[in-house]
């Protein structure tokens, strides 16, 4: 479940993504809906790493989403479905189908 009060304050800013410009749209998506992204389990395998909580974790600190297509795709799909009016459960289901 998303942590109460969670925000995108720890998500890497675009300024630190100069070498990963292709990942910027995904980081922007995460900054737009951190409370949704925090309720999604990443399917790339990083969920087993220490300190991982949710897909949001992939965009913080070492931010493996910089170079992981799956982390990026999950965030972009989450935003697209959120904008289409899908609920968190529906977004989770879609991501599990697509990347699980």
């Amino acid at each position: 479940m998303p942590r109460p009060g969670i925000d995108a304050s720890r998500v890497l800013p675009d300024a630190s993504l100069a070498e990963y410009s292709g990942a910027i749209p995904a980081f922007q998506a995460v900054r737009e809906i951190p409370q949704i992204v925090d309720g999604i389990r990443c399917q790339c395998g990083c969920a087993k790493l220490p300190g991982f909580y949710s897909l949001l974790s992939c965009y913080e600190g070492e931010a493996m989403a910089r170079f992981c297509d799956i982390c990026q795709g999950e965030a972009r799909l989450a935003l697209r479905l959120h904008r289409a009016g899908k609920t968190l459960d529906e977004i989770r289901d879609a991501i599990d189908v697509r990347y699980g």
Binding site: D69, I70, E74, R76, R80, V97, R98
Partner: protein, 295 residues
């Protein structure tokens, strides 16, 4: 006598002085082995100890007595672990971990899966009602020194698991559940069937570059014919349902699916029950191509 005993004491003392890691290592007559295979999301794992023939010519009827309920391995019973329901030689096997036993008779071998997975090979067990009973056939082959389990065949819908020790080779045909069934009802498929103009992202605005992508329903599945595929294997596809108006393209060999390309997805836009077009998206959820209905 003293001459024989003293070296043994000395050897024992020497082992006691070894670092723990080295002292823990042992040469075993039947070393531990493991083999595993994943098929369409189902993983099958066999763990066992591997006896050797060691110049024993007649394994069956002598080392393994006729009528014996024997684990095809040694020491702790061989285990069969599967994470989805499967069939073995046509017999249903629910997901789980089992110890493996074979009743060896001159004319007929019967394999048993015992839900109690942790078992020592002795005392010899008696098959119980909750054991799964699977008739097997065997073949005589060139001798194999070390008892081996392996997967000599992997199919889209399963695999053959086999073991051999000495001359006796025993294949077990496994079928796994389809992770994403390809079947699509005709009335559902009708939303999508028809001709589309397929355009790669880099060719947007260049209608002369568009190729023809035709969807039709046949054999209970939604299929595609593509006149200018990026690879020959994409010329004829089955579209595998993967979500609401989502499909993965599956490549065919001799009419059978051999690879589902689930790193790209076709997302159809449907209005009033009829698809007007589709987007093809990659792993990063970027649109790499589009299709527009022509008919």
């Amino acid at each position: 006598m003293a001459v024989r005993v003293l070296p043994r004491v000395a050897i024992a003392c020497a082992f006691m002085l070894l670092p723990p890691a080295l002292a823990g290592a042992q040469i075993r007559a039947s070393e531990h082995g493991v083999t595993a295979q994943t098929v369409d999301g189902t993983t099958i794992t066999v763990e066992y100890y591997r006896p050797k023939m060691r110049a024993r010519d007649s394994l069956y009827g002598r080392v393994v007595r006729w009528g014996e309920v024997w684990t095809p391995g040694a020491n702790w019973a061989t285990t069969f672990d599967v994470d989805h329901d499967v069939t073995m030689n046509g017999v249903a096997v629910p997901k789980g971990k089992y110890s493996v036993w074979i009743e060896v008779k001159p004319d007929q071998w019967t394999l048993y899966l015992n839900p109690k997975s942790r078992a020592f090979h002795l005392p010899e067990p008696k098959p119980a009602d909750d054991w799964i009973r699977i008739p097997v056939t065997r073949e005589t082959r060139a001798p194999m020194e070390v008892l081996s389990w392996w997967f000599p065949e992997v199919r889209p819908d399963g695999a053959t698991l086999a073991f051999q020790w000495g001359r006796e080779y025993v294949p077990l045909r496994l079928t796994v559940p389809a992770s994403h069934p390809i079947a699509l009802a005709a009335d559902v498929a009708r939303r999508y069937t028809g001709a589309y103009a397929f355009t790669w992202k880099e060719d947007e605005g260049k209608p002369e570059k568009a190729s023809s992508f035709e969807l039709y329903h046949e054999g209970g599945a939604l299929r595609a014919r593509w006149d200018k595929p990026p690879f020959p294997e994409f010329g004829n596809l089955i579209m595998v349902p993967s979500g609401e108006h989502w499909f993965w393209p599956a490549m065919l060999e001799k009419g059978e699916v051999f690879d589902v390309a689930n790193d790209i997805v076709f997302e159809f836009a449907v209005t009033d029950g009829r698809a007007t077009g589709f987007e093809v998206r990659d792993t990063k959820d970027e649109v790499i191509a589009k299709g527009t209905r022509k008919d």
